[in-house]
Symmetry: C2
Subunit: 336 residues, 2 copies
C-alpha cells in the first residue's frame, strides 16, 4: 500500500472482488435495473414485523449471497464493515449478528458503500484480512418515518426531494486475484457550504463529490477520460447537475461519462421519485448489482465509484445546523 | 501486519501513541480522576446552545489537544476515525467538520474508542497513514433525552443503570516510534444473549467482553497475568462482576488485575451514579487521560484495553429486540 498525492491510497497488491449480492424492493424491481438485482421483494416488509426488521433482512440476504457467490463461508471472512441510515445503525446490527464475523460498524450516511468497500480493500491490501465484506442498506419506509414524516401523514414531497431506495448491496473483497480489482481509494473530507434543506440532499452533497473527485484526479494524474464511468451515488438530478457544472468550471469535464446511482435505479419520469433515488442501499445495490455485472461482461472497464453522504440528523437540523457532505471514491478496474 | 490465531492482528511495525486529549464535564471533574483530564467544564453546555453542540465541542477540544501534544498540525493527520452515541453520529460530524481531515465515521456504541484506536493503528501499521486520529464522546444530557427520558421528567434510575459520562477522548496514532505502542488488536464479534433491559447495559455487554478477551488470549498465547491491567469500558458494577465470574469459570482469572472505566471515572458511593459510568466518552476520556498518563509514568506497562458496546436503539427495543453486545481489544504497551 502506498500513499499517492495528499489523499489517495494506491493498493498494491490490489484487493479483488470475489462476490457480491444486491437485493431490492418492489419499486426498484419495477425500475430499469430490475434484471440486475439478485432478487426483489414485492412485500416491503419482507414478511417481517416492521420495516426496520425488513431492512435488516435485506442486509442478511445481500451478505449471504455475496459470500456464497465468492464460494466462501462466513468463517472465511475476517471482518465485516457495515452501516446504514437508521439510528445506531440497527439494520446492520440485527441483520448481521448471527454471522459470527468480527464487526466494524461504519457511519458514512449514503457514502457507506464506498466507505466500507474502501475500508475492506485497505484491510485486504494491507494484510489485515484475507477476505472482508462491505455491506449497506436503506428502506424507504424506515427512513421516511425516522428522518421526515410518518408515511400515514401523507405529506407532499418537494421537487428536490429524493426517494430512499429499499435495497441492500454487499461485496466480498479478497486477496485472491479475480476479474475486478480496487486499485485506489480516496477517502473524503467533510464539506459544508451551508445547505440546511433536508429535502435537497443532492445540493448538500455535490460539493463533497467535487472535492473528492478533484482530490483523486490531482493525486493520481488521471483524468475523467480515463474512466468509462464516473459514478456518483446518490446525488439525484439536482445534485448531479450541480456536480457537472462545478466540475466543468473547475476544468474537469465529466459530462459524457458521469452518471449517478440515484438517476439509474428508477425511471424518474414514470416512477414519481422527483429528484431520483437515495439512501445507502441505492448506490449499494446499483454497484453490487448492475455495475459489477456490466464490468464482468466487459462493458465497463474502469469505474470511479464515488458515493456521497449527507451527515446530519433531524435533531441537528432542528437546532439550526447545516448538512455536512462527504464523498469517498473507489476505483474499480477490470483486469485484462 | 500479521494475523495470529483466528481473530487477532499483530501490528509489526506497531503504531505509536503520539498525543492524546481528554476532556470532561462537572461531575467527572468531581470524581477520582479529576486531575487527569486536560480540562473539565462546570457548565454542561460548554457555552453552546444545546447539549448536542456541547458534546461536539468536547470532541473538537480533545482532537485539537491530541494533535497539539503530538506536535503536529491537522494537515499532518491523514485520517480521523470518529463516532459517538447520538443519532447519525452528529457529535463527530459537527465537532470535526472544520478540521479538513479525511473522515471515517465509526459506529461501535461505547466500544468506539477501542474500535477507532484499533482502526487508526491498523491504518498506520499497514502503511495507509503516517498519522491517524481516533476520537469519541458522550454527554449525559444528550444521551438521556435520546435514549431514555427528557431530563425534565425527573425519572427514577434503576440500580443497574449506568451514568453516561460527559466526556471525550482523542488519540493520535503514528508511525514514528514513541513511548507507548499498540501491539495487537482484536476486533470483536457481536454477542447476543437476549438481554433487553436498556437500564442494564452491563449485563448485555459482559458476554461480548468475555468473548473478545478469550479470543485474544487464545490467539496470542498470552495470559491475564501478562497484563498490569485488563481494562474494560464500560461494564460498570453489574457487568464487571459478571465478566469476572464468567472469565473465572472459563479458566481465566482476572480478579486481581481487572478494572473498568465505568468504575474508575466516578466515586460510585458518593456520586449517585448507581452501577457506574458509561458512554463512549467514559472509556475514551479514562484511557486518553488517566491510563496513558499512568503508562507514561511507568506505573502501568501493559494494558489490555477492551471497550464494550451495546448495539441497539430505542426503536429496536420497542420492537422487542434484545441488546447486541460487542467488544474490541487493543494491547497498549510501554516500550522499554
Amino acid at each position: 500500500m502506498q500513499r499517492i498525492g495528499k489523499y489517495t491510497l494506491q493498493l498494491d497488491p490490489p484487493a479483488y472482488i470475489r462476490g457480491s449480492g444486491s437485493f431490492a424492493g418492489k419499486k426498484e424491481g419495477e425500475g430499469p435495473l430490475k434484471d440486475y438485482f439478485d432478487a426483489t421483494h414485492d412485500d416491503t416488509t419482507l414478511g417481517e414485523e416492521s420495516w426496520e426488521k425488513a431492512e435488516s433482512k435485506l442486509q442478511t440476504e445481500a451478505v449471504k449471497t455475496a459470500i456464497q457467490k465468492a464460494h466462501l463461508k462466513p468463517a472465511d471472512i475476517q471482518y465485516i464493515f457495515a452501516g446504514d441510515l437508521l439510528n445506531q445503525c440497527i439494520s446492520s446490527t440485527y441483520g448481521l449478528r448471527d454471522l459470527d464475523i468480527p464487526f466494524l460498524g461504519q457511519y458514512g450516511a449514503c457514502s457507506t458503500m464506498a466507505q466500507g468497500m474502501g475500508m475492506a480493500s485497505v484491510f485486504v491490501s494491507g494484510g489485515a484480512a484475507e477476505n472482508a465484506v462491505a455491506v449497506t442498506s436503506s428502506h424507504f419506509c424506515s427512513a421516511e418515518r425516522q428522518f421526515r414524516f410518518p408515511l400515514e401523514y401523507g405529506g407532499q414531497r418537494t421537487p428536490t426531494a429524493q426517494w430512499t431506495a429499499t435495497a441492500a448491496g454487499a461485496v466480498v473483497m479478497g486477496k485472491q486475484p479475480g476479474a475486478i480489482s480496487v486499485r485506489e481509494v480516496t477517502f473524503g473530507r467533510m464539506t459544508d457550504l451551508g445547505v440546511s434543506d433536508a429535502n435537497n440532499m443532492g445540493a448538500a452533497m455535490a460539493p463533497a463529490a467535487v472535492r473528492t473527485l478533484t482530490d483523486y484526479f490531482t493525486d493520481t494524474g488521471a483524468t475523467p477520460q480515463d474512466f468509462d464511468l464516473i459514478l456518483t451515488g446518490d446525488l439525484g438530478y439536482v445534485g448531479s447537475s450541480l456536480l457537472r457544472e462545478i466540475m466543468r468550471k473547475a476544468g474537469w469535464d465529466i459530462e459524457t461519462n458521469h452518471n449517478d446511482c440515484g438517476l439509474m435505479i428508477y425511471n424518474r419520469k414514470e416512477q414519481d421519485v422527483h429528484a431520483g433515488g437515495s439512501g445507502c442501499g441505492c448506490s449499494g445495490s446499483v454497484v453490487c448489482g448492475y455495475i459489477l455485472k456490466q464490468m464482468a461482461q466487459g462493458i465497463l472497464k474502469d469505474v470511479l465509484f464515488t458515493a456521497t453522504g449527507a451527515l446530519m440528523s433531524p435533531t441537528a437540523l432542528q437546532q439550526g445546523e447545516s448538512i455536512v457532505g462527504i464523498a469517498h471514491a473507489v476505483h474499480l478496474h477490470l483486469e485484462t
